[in-house]
Amino acid sequence: MAFYFAQFLTGLASASSLFLVAAGLSIIFGVTRIVNFAHGSLFMLGAFIAYSVSQHTSFWLAVTMAAIAVGTIGWCMERGVLRKLYAAPELFQLVATFGLVLIIQDAALWIWGPMDLLGPRAPGLEGVVRIFGEPIPEYDLFLITIGLVVLAATWWTFKRTRFGILVRAATEDPEMLQALGVKPSTLFQATFFIGAALAGLGGALELPRQPANLMMDLNIIAEVFVVVVIGGMGSIIGAFLAALLISQLNAFGILIFPEITLVAAFAAMAVVLIFKPYGLMGKLSIATPNAVEIAPPMTFGRIGSFAGVSLMIVLVALPFFAPSFVVVLLSDIFIFALFAAGLHYMMGTGGLISFGHAAFFGLGAYGAALVVKGFGVSMPMALVAAPVLAGFGAIIIGWFTIRLSGVYLAMLTLAAAQILWSTAIQWQSITGGDDGILGIWPSTWATDTTAFYYLALALCSTTICALIYLSLGQHGLLLRATRDAAPRAAALGINVKARQWLAIIIAGVSAGLAGGIFVFSKGSVFPDVLAIPNSVDALVMVLLGGLHAPVGPIIGAGVFALLEDGLSRLPYWRALLGITIVIVAIYAPNGLAGVFSKLRVLRTKST
């Protein structure tokens, strides 16, 4: 009994440190509706800053200063980047904050260097207390206290103080508040400061438990997302309950199934979401979601068709004179373009934002690899299995996600991708875990790079054309109606949910096919294909190309691949990529296709 009580306290201490970070994220989301991917980076900065300061002064002062410094960094982030994106669709905010993740990662590497930095222990709390004979670190008890204090303080601030009331008012109706003479932007800044400071505090307090290292950011953010989704986005109490649930599940799960600690958290999330789609304490916000700018129907036109046909001719002729590495690079670009095209279809035409498109790509990739390894089928059969499996996945994931909309739907897609990712990592007997599945090479007739190029070109271009045809045709128009005016569309007899579900399935099937081809081009598959960065890559490609242009994903995939290819040979290339992403999100919201058409409009006007 004593052992289990002690285990409970250990779990409680972990819950506390998780809660600090999740509370910050939840507060920021509640007020600004921004899903801050860089929140994990703020946590990491907290640990690093506390380390540096603690080398010169006491640990406690270092913790305080780290929290203030990280709060200030958060405040700068809000002023410099995110403020420009409040009116933009959620996609831009997420992608921009991911750009910040990349920038902060390289900045931390540059400032603190590559070594792990083991900070000091908390002075006065180095020992253990015996509770029922079990040793409990004093620092754990301290963490538990801090968690409860922060819970009480934030709850009190938001419920009882004038500041809190104003912040809640700003969340519900910023325009009305402005009309009453309160500047919401000041409130938003203050919120960002508090949220970031909590992340910094969480990071600094983590220092006695783990060395400050460059992997803290992405490690914590996935966990924190789980917490805020389970708890209900924007709810502090919810975040606390969810942090408690996850940590206890881990503390006791590890005793029974030491190998599947990751899956447990995500499985718990799935169970909660079946019964409570908005999380334990979450509710649908009455504030209107960020209006997606109503774009005119997409057109292709004669110039488009001409450009498309010419591009195809060039691509078909290319292997005859291009060196083999260009052929390989282009095959990759075709796969990415198809991956992005499916997302573009559900997001651009359907307005259904997905933060977890990698789920379908990964299902296709693992599906193809597994039928080859398990049943020894040939490549063509595997390329049929990939989209079929991804399609089934999309039916299930779609059923869950279309119950919600906007950023909630997006977080649910992210959750689905994370469940698959953790399964791929921990279901080792089937998926090989982190070691992946190797040796999935194409059939002999397609091993040659040129043959594979034509295969990829044929499959990808056909599917992309089909997607463009669907967007421009009747199905696309009906889907657009559900995006721009769902109640009216429903009144006209359109089954809104069914249309959206179908859109997700179509997107899933095409991403699955892309995943299948991808496996054979690389000869292997790893859990990375299901991870958050892969989903973000798809978003970045769509964003780069342009959300409302039919050729957006093609341009986006091409430019992204070339950008990554060009940058990844430079030192600090992740920061450069991050800066590019932030700039595009802020200054070119219609992507490169938007820039081109703007130029064209300008030219026609001047002549």
Binding site: F3, Q7, G11, A13, S14, L109, G113, P114, M115, D116, L117, L118, R121, E126, G127, V128, P135, P137, P208, R209, Q210, P211, N213, L214, M215, N219, I254, L255, P258, E259, T261, A307, V314, P323, S324, F325, V326, V328, L329, D332, I425, Q426, G433, D434, D435, G436, L438, G439, W441, K522, G523, S524, V525, F526, D528, V529, I555, V559, L562, D565
Partner: protein, 397 residues
């Protein structure tokens, strides 16, 4: 159209590039520079030092050597993509590098499919040269089996019977536990393994892991965690008294990249493999140490040694083969012997594993720093299975 133009430009550039750089021998190098810089940065400095020395002394067979080094960001998918670019675009004659075991295996599979030689410098998994070995892949560092066997021999000398293990949940961790169990059980059949913990790589929840280990009340613990996981594990374990009166045997923990960050909290009395560079006093090592410290103005790490030896192996095989043809390189690599700042090493014909050894000793804290004491060097050849046994473990054909 910009897109097509960019492609055309890229193509033209590459044509010029290949004309201009016909001279040096190009080697492709892939590593997790941004994912585990603690090891890979010193590694890079090691091979850069050797490369400069080689080129300063006239290169290989009259040609200079060029390393094209790329970062895989710790993702096997990236590594395969980069490997493809290196052989197709940069026309490298062979591949080398990689740190994480699963990435090493992925590149090895790629090398086999594309018929290019791959010298895996760091990944430790046994599968690389045994169960998934192939003709094209060679490995420099002492494998998990070799290091686990060194530790198991020490572990068998202790009184401990009940063992618990903790290892990261991927190829390296699994191999390291399996090898240790195999060798220790053979040496001391009465041992029992009472608990296994498998935290996800670099995601350890140290507090609960420590408590789970404690619950099984083992006599001894075998640890395979490294990097940031190790720091958390040591702290949480120390404060909870997990290591008190227990034997701890720990893989790689004596390597400065993992021991130094722990400072005065470094565990005492753990039996580890590692690299006591501060105490090794041989002419070869002293020369290496002096050159490295003069070049980089910092102290040696295990990675420095591995990087340096990797480059020496590359130079030796190029010299021996007198050609950059893959088949000639493979033929030259089999049985290749060359000097290193440690003992000379040989790449075994039977399983393509180098006989590089390691140091085994006990950890202690000296002047506020974690160091190895009572160490001795163990030759890699002495802990490897016989060539016949090794060959039998490799896939046929």
């Amino acid at each position: 159209m910009t897109f097509v133009r960019t492609i055309a430009t890229a193509m033209l550039l590459s044509v010029f590039a290949s004309l201009a750089n016909a001279e040096p021998i190009k080697i492709g190098e892939i590593n997790s520079y941004t994912r585990l810089p603690a090891f890979t940065e010193p590694y890079k400095k090691g091979w850069q030092l050797a490369l400069e020395e080689i080129n300063a002394s006239g290169g290989i067979n009259g040609r200079s050597v060029e390393i094209i080094s790329r970062d895989d960001a710790g993702k096997p998918g990236n590594a395969v993509k980069i490997a493809e670019e290196l052989i197709r675009r940069d026309n490298v004659v062979m591949l080398t590098g990689t740190f994480f075991s699963h990435i090493g295996l992925a590149v090895s599979d790629f090398a086999k499919q594309n018929k290019v030689m791959f010298l895996a410098s760091e990944p430790l998994t046994d599968a690389l040269v045994w169960s998934k070995g192939n003709d094209y892949t060679f490995r420099l560092r002492p494998s998990t089996y070799m290091q686990a066997a060194m530790l198991a021999a020490e572990a068998a000398k202790t009184d401990a019977v009940k063992w618990a293990t903790v290892a990261p949940n991927y190829a390296y961790g699994k191999d390291a536990v399996a090898a240790f169990k195999q060798v220790l059980t053979k040496l001391k059949p009465e041992v029992k393994f009472v608990d296994e913990q498998w935290p996800a790589l670099f995601k350890i929840d140290a507090g609960v892991t420590v408590r789970a280990l404690e619950k099984s009340k083992p006599d001894a613990i075998y640890n395979v965690t490294f990097g940031p996981d190790l720091g958390s594990f040591v702290r949480e374990g120390t404060v909870r008294g997990l290591f008190k009166d227990r034997t701890v045997v720990s893989l790689l923990t004596g390597e400065p990249e993992y021991l130094e960050p722990l400072k005065d909290e470094a565990p005492k009395g753990w039996i580890v493999t590692g690299y006591p560079w501060y105490a090794i006093d041989t002419p070869e090592h002293n020369a290496f140490r002096k050159a490295y410290e003069a070049r980089w103005n910092e102290s040696l790490k295990m990675g420095s040694m591995v990087g340096y030896n990797m480059m020496l192996s590359v130079a030796a095989v190029l010299k021996e083969a007198k050609s950059t043809d893959t088949n000639a390189l493979i033929a030259a690599m089999k049985g290749l012997t060359h000097d290193t700042p440690m003992e000379p090493i040989t790449y075994r014909d039977a399983d393509h594993q180098a006989t590089m050894g390691s140091w085994v000793g006990k950890t202690d804290v000296i002047d506020g720093k974690g160091q190895m004491t009572n160490w001795r060097f163990i030759d890699g050849a002495s802990v490897l299975p016989s060539p016949e046994d090794a060959k039998a473990m490799r896939p046929k054909g």
